[in-house]
Amino acid sequence: MASNVNTRASKRKKKRLYLVLTSMSIVVLAVGLVLTALEDSISLFLDPSELVERNIPEGQHIRLGGLVVEDSFKKDQDGLTYYFDVTDGAETVSVTYKGSLPDLFREGQGVVLEGETSNSGLFHATEVLAKHDENYMPKEVMDSLKKRGVYREVEEESI
């Protein structure tokens, strides 16, 4: 009787050991995956001033946010490559992008670009993000504009 209870208890302990070992190995696997995967897929969000200040090495993947400068938008002969400037009020960065622009892309509006700088100083965007809330202004861009003191309150429509 007593030995029976003992084996049951030891079995339970053994079971717990298996469980702990399996979970540990899965967690270790997950942490490993997280750390390796994170390395390559983080992109820093910068505004044009920070991009200039920080001396970001060529080829590093970043996100750039700011306002598209009025009258800076140009289209290449092929009809699919675009040139425009992005500003935060203090600094301005020239951008080139080949691909399709999202529905909301407009001069004078906020935009978030994914891409990298090149040696010519031109920012090569690989993606123009169509992120927008109901005020059509990406949050990061709004924060950056507020910081630089160029943000004007969007005139509230009379509600």
Binding site: F45, K131, K139
Partner: protein, 652 residues
């Protein structure tokens, strides 16, 4: 007047939830029958009043009563009726009211279907449900009153974001909320059981149908959102690892784990405290999801509201609900008696591995979603964690999961014979490897991961069919009869796994073999993509109810045979002024042909920016999910889970 009635009804519902959440709980502790008897009527009353509140808000939207601030902000007279109605839950205040409505609906369902539960458990479950509801009512009344008036009121409303004006998105939030809030029932059952100090097979039989119901809604809701993104956002993607998508995906992962661990509790009376913990975590993720979407802490397409006051309230609410329930768990978990033993190779172990992988996957998604916040708080750097992170970290965790999924159903409870298992399934495994490699070779693929994912999908497909065939002894006398006699829960399991297999095959196809073309086309130009020839035939200006648009017509042919023409549109909405693209999609089992035109107001004459995508097997993904949900529903109809009869059938 009607709006004020709604506001008043909401206050009454709030008071009722307070009564339902306190007095009966005290009654259950001291065995006072009268106090306990309060709980069901209070649950019905709460549903009644919150329905009135919701209906009066809907009325305000339908008649476009712009003296209500919420209506003025989110509606417009020109909007089609469907979107006037769906605008009710398309905004912050309305969506929270909708949450409260569904919460009360589930509460009333528990009150009704749970009549033959042990009295004290029934009362406690309802009390917890009511206390969660109380939080939401207070949130509504104190920080986000949907019935607030404005004066002077505007003559016209602001309109709804045109991207959201779509039938897919009209029904996406209700389904998702039914899922989110459905997990509240499981949560209430878990906390109720912790207070009660008893978890047994009957408890698990009670919890499973609710989890299953929530899971079906969540699955359908998430997929509807993904489908909407696919055809509406116009770049042919269906999953972006956007914080809001993650917010709905994390509870899904945990609910899936819970669904499986509840089976172990029911069949083998073990894994009890783990199951309780999962139930708490699943609902916590639901609340966290609401927090992420509604507080706007993370930027995303869906961030409707940015308001610190609300953020603090939700944060405190989260803290109380999650912290409180986890504390209770820590105090009471040891009261739950440990159950049956099982060997390392057994159905239980397979389900444990499933649970571990799903929970860790949910944590990985959580980490990726919250890491930018953490980094911002620590270093001030603003960063984003891109899809590659999730694809690698989450994707690789799914590989062992799918491998185990193929084995699990063929494994015996308690102790399985490893040799027998491997000899039975090694043939299936070899077959799927061969088929995957053959397909890989035929498609002259270049990414080995395509073969891996395709192989996993096929392995899951084959092993699920194999297990089913073995179970009904296919090709032997009486197999048809046995097929008909399978319990619905196991039919549901087979369909669920089958559906995932189809979905995985679809994901592999559309992710690794898609082709695209971007370019400028003029009338009469022809472009070929993946065997289809498209000719730009015509462009027309059209006027919709609240937008104007350019509609292009493409003649489509394949191998010289003409197919139905495709007509994508580029729309410009009037209120708020905003351009959108409407893709035209030709869906077949082999793949989707996806056509988008850009720039409705091109400055150059007859030059149209055109994007074409060919997405192989895309339809399999949607069909697979449909099969999964079907499996869930069939399983839900199993007699054993008939919600009213947890203790066996009552005499009719």
């Amino acid at each position: 007047m009607i709006v004020e009635i709604g506001h008043y009804a909401l206050i009454l519902a709030c008071l009722l939830s307070f009564i339902q959440g306190t007095f009966p709980l005290y009654g259950a502790l001291n065995n006072r029958g009268r106090l306990m008897a309060l709980s069901s009527p209070a649950a019905y009353g709460q549903l009644f009043f919150v329905t009135i509140a919701f209906a009066s808000l809907m009325y305000a939207f339908v008649v476009s009563d712009f003296s209500v601030a919420n209506v003025a902000r989110n509606s417009h007279t020109l909007k089609p009726m469907l979107y006037k109605v769906s605008a009710v839950w398309g905004n912050h205040e309305g969506s929270i009211l909708f949450w409260a409505l569904i919460l009360a609906l589930y509460g009333a369902m528990v009150a009704f279907f749970g009549r033959n539960l042990p009295k004290t458990l029934h009362v406690r479950v309802l009390a917890i449900q009511a206390l969660v509801g109380l939080g939401f009512y207070l949130f509504l009344l104190l920080t986000s009153n949907p019935f607030e008036r404005v004066y002077p009121f505007p003559m016209e409303g602001n309109g709804l974001n045109p991207l959201l004006q779509d039938p897919g998105l009209a029904f996406h939030p209700p389904l998702l909320y039914m899922g989110y809030v459905g997990l509240s029932v499981t949560f209430s059952f878990a906390v109720g059981a912790l207070i009660e100090g008893r978890v047994d097979a009957a408890w698990a039989r009670w919890v499973r149908p609710w989890t299953l119901l929530a899971w079906c809604f969540l699955t359908a809701g998430i997929t509807l959102g993904s489908w909407w993104a696919y055809y509406e956002l116009g770049w042919g993607g269906w999953w972006f690892w956007d914080p809001v998508e993650n917010a709905s995906f994390m509870p899904w992962l945990v609910a899936t784990a819970l669904l499986h661990s509840a089976i172990v509790v029911e069949k083998r009376d073990t894994l009890k405290s783990w199951t309780i913990l999962l139930a708490i975590i699943a609902f916590s993720f639901s609340l966290l999801g609401t927090f992420i979407v509604r507080s706007g802490v993370l930027t995303s397409v869906h961030a409707f509201a940015t308001d610190p006051e609300r953020g603090v309230f939700i944060l405190m609410f989260l803290f109380i609900v999650i912290g409180g329930s986890l504390l209770l768990f820590a105090l009471r978990a040891d009261k739950l008696t440990p159950g049956g033993l099982f060997a390392p190779i057994s159905r239980e172990s397979m389900l444990v591995i499933n649970n571990l992988l799903l929970s860790v996957a949910a944590l990985v998604v959580l980490f990726g979603t919250l890491y930018p916040l953490l980094r911002d708080a620590l270093t001030g750097d603003k960063i984003t964690v891109g899809p590659p992170f999730f694809n690698i970290a989450f994707g690789l965790l799914m590989i062992p999961l799918i491998l185990v999924m193929g084995l699990g159903p063929s494994t015996n409870w308690k102790r399985a014979d490893l040799k027998g298992l491997s000899s039975r399934l090694s043939f299936v495994f070899a077959a799927s490897v061969v088929v995957a490699l053959a397909l890989f070779y035929i498609t002259s693929g270049n990414d080995i991961m395509a073969a891996v994912w395709l192989g996993l999908g096929i392995w899951l497909l084959f092993s699920t069919i194999f297990e089913w065939a073995e179970r009904i002894k296919l090709f032997k006398a009486g197999s048809l009869k046995r097929m008909g006699r399978q319990p619905r829960a196991s039919v549901g399991m087979t369909l669920g796994h089958l559906g995932l297999a189809l979905a995985v095959i679809g994901m592999a196809g559309t992710s690794y073999w898609n082709t695209e073309y971007q370019g400028i086309m003029s009338h009469g130009d022809t472009v070929s993509i993946s065997g289809y020839d498209l000719t730009l035939k015509d462009t027309d200006g059209i006027i919709g109810p609240n937008y104007s648009a350019v509609r292009a017509t493409f003649d489509v042919s394949k191998d010289g045979i003409s197919l139905a023409p495709l007509s994508p549109e580029a729309r410009v909405y009037l209120t708020p002024p905003m351009p959108t693209t409407e893709a035209a999609i030709l869906s077949t089992l082999r793949g989707d042909l996806f056509v988008v035109i850009g720039e409705a107001n091109s400055e150059e004459y007859d030059k149209w920016a055109v994007r074409l995508y060919y997405k192989p097997l895309q339809l399999w993904l949607w069909l697979g999910v449909a099969v999964m949900v079907l499996g869930g529903l069939i399983s839900l109809s199993d007699r054993r889970f008939r919600m009213g009869s947890p203790k066996g059938a009552r005499k009719a």
